[in-house]
Amino acid sequence: MSRREHPHASAVERALQDPDAAPLGRLLDDGFKEEQVTRLWRGVEQRALRASFARRHGAVLLAAAALLLVLSAGALRYFRPGAPLMLSSGAPPSVLDAARGRVESRFADGSRIELGAGSRMEVLRNDGQSFVSVLQRGQGVFEVEPGGPRRWVVHAGIANVEVIGTRFRVVREPGRVEVGVTHGVVMVRAESLPGGTVRLGAGQSIVVRAPNAADGSAAPPAPIRGSPASPAEIAPAPSVTPAPTAPPSPPHASARTRAQPQPTGDAIDELFRVADQARTRGDNAAAVAAYEAVLARAPARDPRRGLAAMSLTRLTLRGDPARAATALDGSMQGMPSALAEDALARQVEAEGRAGRKDEAARLARIYLSRFPDGRREADVRRWLTP
């Protein structure tokens, strides 16, 4: 039986079949409020007034606009974000491939990247604020000109390195990434690190390992070492730097003290941006992954946990309600008060849809006691009976 002949067509299907009799608009609540009528009317009057004024004083306005344009152009020129970072040859960097042997790339600002033989690096983003690259394989020494405007980020699979101005080396091999710093300070971010982030100073290095394949648990990172293995030099071919086995000596202990987990605010904001971009292009799986990464990193009372949980819920409530319930359950502490009611109602629904009817009923009772006149009262009441 075709869709058109189906006797139990859904509302959407009926709208497709016969929009004159059953347009979809009948199913929608446009939420137009009386207060909007007055507010928008004021806006209409203002716009009409502006248009009338513009008609009467068009020439003067045109001249003023031209002047403003000139001034804006000047201001933009002064304040505009810097251009992409170019190679010293003037070409834009895209892929640095050292398949045939060691490659050294010098940049216009004095920065330098040296890739070991067999290594490959690709530039993901290059603008006035950031230079983001991925080390796809092998090893590289990065010399970033200090005081520059760009935030350098090197993605290396299980770990990312973030830096403003320094000299460091990244070695990427299957299952492990080693980062060693010669000058300056870098932030190494990886899921397996305590707190997700470690700060490495000059003379320190760390090995980050991939989660164990057998049980999925994260392998502990090797302790931070005080003497990185000569990051200034690149071996002729990629080589495995052995993980340290000896306990750190006293000087290393001070290095360990400095290597405390750092606030991950930038990373969380970046994750939100990643999620936004993923949603914009319709890649919900990537957006969900980004929100879950926020939940894994943000402190318990960080309001961004709540925002991430709500966004994740919106994407997974119908397809994977257990995931939504878990996200909300771990985020209610930091939930912004403006979202608290909606979040609790969503949690009720998520638990119910996930088959945990008792929990849904318990949360529904909490909702009704906290928000007796809540907007979602009717929805929540559906789950009162387990």
Binding site: P23, L24, G31, Q36, L40, A48
Partner: protein, 176 residues
């Protein structure tokens, strides 16, 4: 009409109050964004009040207003899409069809509308607008053509193309 053309303030406000809801609904559904819809409503009435003297018959008022609203919405839609493409506008729409149905429709209908939203998001503006005017607002084909300022044949073609995409997506269960 005479009072309106004569610049009577009461007549202007009466026109606005009588038609603001339908203009709002159309703008909101076309754009999927409350902020954008508010702008379109204000621009529409500002333009209508300015050009009221061009209107000959009172019966033509509503279609004429819708035509202005659709034109304004089209401009704003293209601008927002362009800004998004360059990363200058972030965030997602807050008034998609599924979001508008959330408080009044069943979860199954909302899920179905989410799939429709996904298709509409990928459609060219002309097809998206024509389909929404026809299947969501329930306008006749002639009204769609007039609102979109295109021929009847073009309106039909746009609606048919969009409908094929929507139906194909619904039949596939929302899978890409």
């Amino acid at each position: 009409m005479q009072r309106l053309v004569g610049g009577d303030q009461w007549a202007k406000e009466a026109l606005y109050r009588r038609h603001v809801r339908s203009v709002w609904s159309t703008a909101l559904r076309l754009l999927g964004s409350r902020a954008d819809a508010e702008d379109v409503v204000q621009d529409t009435f500002a333009e209508a009040l300015r050009d009221a003297h061009r209107l000959k018959k009172l019966e033509a008022l509503r279609p004429w207003l819708l035509r202005i609203a659709v034109h304004q919405a089209h401009r704003r839609f293209r601008r927002t899409r362009l800004l998004r493409r360059f990363g200058l506008v972030e965030g997602s729409d807050d008034a998609t069809l599924s979001a508008l149905a959330e408080s009044v429709a069943s979860p199954e209908t909302v899920a179905e509308l989410e799939r429709v939203d996904r298709v509409l998001k990928a459609l060219p503006a002309g097809e998206r607008f024509a389909w929404i005017l026809r299947h969501v607002d329930g306008l006749s084909l002639e009204e769609v053509a007039y609102s979109c300022d295109c021929s009847l044949a073009t309106a039909k073609r746009r609606i048919a193309r969009a409908a094929r995409s929507v139906e194909a997506h619904l039949q596939s269960g929302g899978l890409p």
